[in-house]
Symmetry: none
Subunit: 225 residues, 2 copies
DNA sequence: CCTCCACGATCAGGATTCGCATGGCCGCAG
DNA sequence: CTGCGGCCATGCGAATCCTGATCGTGGAGG
């Protein structure tokens, strides 16, 4: 699964790259429209994440040139404005989907998954860690087969940890993945949600899988049966 | 059940693909007429969804070329105009059915089912979930064997949920599946219909199978016993 | 070994968003 | 003209989210 990111904001590009790599995608990054066309023409990407506002050539032009050359890689456009014009222009140029800035990184991952999902109708969407099972299609969790209620934020955070089991996740990573990348998180938002997840998981008999790493963040490690 | 989608609007193509995949069909997508002919000649599709307005070769030409080569896959044409000429031209070229844009995605699924039924004559048309039985051929519902009246929109929505039991469905998905893909849904249309379905199902003794996922959508899970 | 402090955990309250019920309007068909 | 299905507007109630304050605790340094 090879993805091209076209984004001139280097900081956002780096965030995107890290997020997609966490989702086990191979990522290339370019920073202007000309490079984007060159890369798209020479490499068969499974999808292209394309900012609209770009130096040299904008996203519409890039899309059109690629489509003119019969490059049919799915294109996910990132648009700053929520103007209908932009949306229409992008889709007419040949984009497959679009996201309005600022977005949560998990949204990008989800859309890319949708765009690149080839005919595998019964793809399993379960994430597992010991007794804990997240059904990402149903947006539900079970522990030992028993359903446990989660709010959508709780679900999003737990999903992120399950996708990165054993890896340290900082508050910053969680914030920009679950909230949007501009969100100015309150002082202890993450702590509150980790606390809620802990109490729900413990109450459901799954123990406490979150390891606090003082000064850095948290790590999820499955509790053995 | 393998389907070829020929549609140059990438976003519509993506929506179509998702809908057909939800209906358990294997889907290939191409974006112009030339690719369509190539794909049609080399792969034995159970049906082809074919836009009329296409780059390189239009839908009529594609149809004619495929028919000339004795490709007999059923063809469902998508036409932007409601002109009789188009319809006649399409049918004369060898298409089997046609749909006028913009259409509801469920229409496409329904037509494809009809077109491919010949090959699978005894397909069951019942959808079940506990006491609830939808007869998709008769457009009627029974709960515990007792008939319950549904309007056509109510029926369409419930059918969609039964086809996707246990899966989270967003308002957007429901809108583009039941209404047409351009429909700009009012503020709380979906809520109103879910509300009606709930009250009818509860009144009929089927309990409330809809689970509200706040901030996301709804999930249908059959009520046991 | 003890103290202190910075960081994390917890709790409660308030703000906000979201969903639901109700009622009414509109357009079409009979 | 009338009835029905489909759609929209409003207001209420509640789930959820976020904040600020307070409490707990691990660990470094003395």
């Amino acid at each position: 699964m090879r993805i091209l990111i076209v984004e001139d904001d280097h900081r956002l590009a780096a965030s995107l790259r890290r997020s997609l790599m966490e989702a086990r995608m191979a990522v290339d990054v370019v920073h202007d429209g000309e490079e984007a066309v060159a890369a798209g023409l020479t490499t068969p990407y499974d999808a292209i994440v394309l900012d609209v506002m770009l130096p040299v050539l904008d996203g519409f032009q890039v899309t059109r040139r690629l489509r003119d050359q019969r490059i049919e890689s799915p294109i996910l456009m990132l648009t700053a404005r929520d103007s209908v014009d932009d949306r229409v222009a992008g889709l007419e140029a040949g984009a497959d989907d679009y996201l309005v800035k600022p977005f949560a990184l998990r949204e990008v991952v989800a859309r890319l998954r949708a765009l690149t999902r080839r005919h595998v109708p019964n793809r399993k969407s379960d994430l597992r860690a010991g007794k804990v099972v997240l059904d990402t299609a149903a947006h539900s969790m079970t522990v030992d087969g028993k359903p446990v209620e989660l709010t959508s934020k709780e679900f999003a955070i737990l999903e992120y940890f399950l996708l990165n089991q054993g890896r340290l996740l900082t508050r910053g990573q969680i914030l920009e993945h679950v909230w949007d990348y501009e969100f100015d998180g309150g002082r202890n938002l993450i702590e509150v949600y980790i606390g809620r997840l802990r109490s729900k998981l413990i109450q459901a008999g799954a123990g406490d899988p979150f390891v606090t790493v003082r000064g850095s963040g948290y790590r999820y490690s499955a509790v053995r049966g």
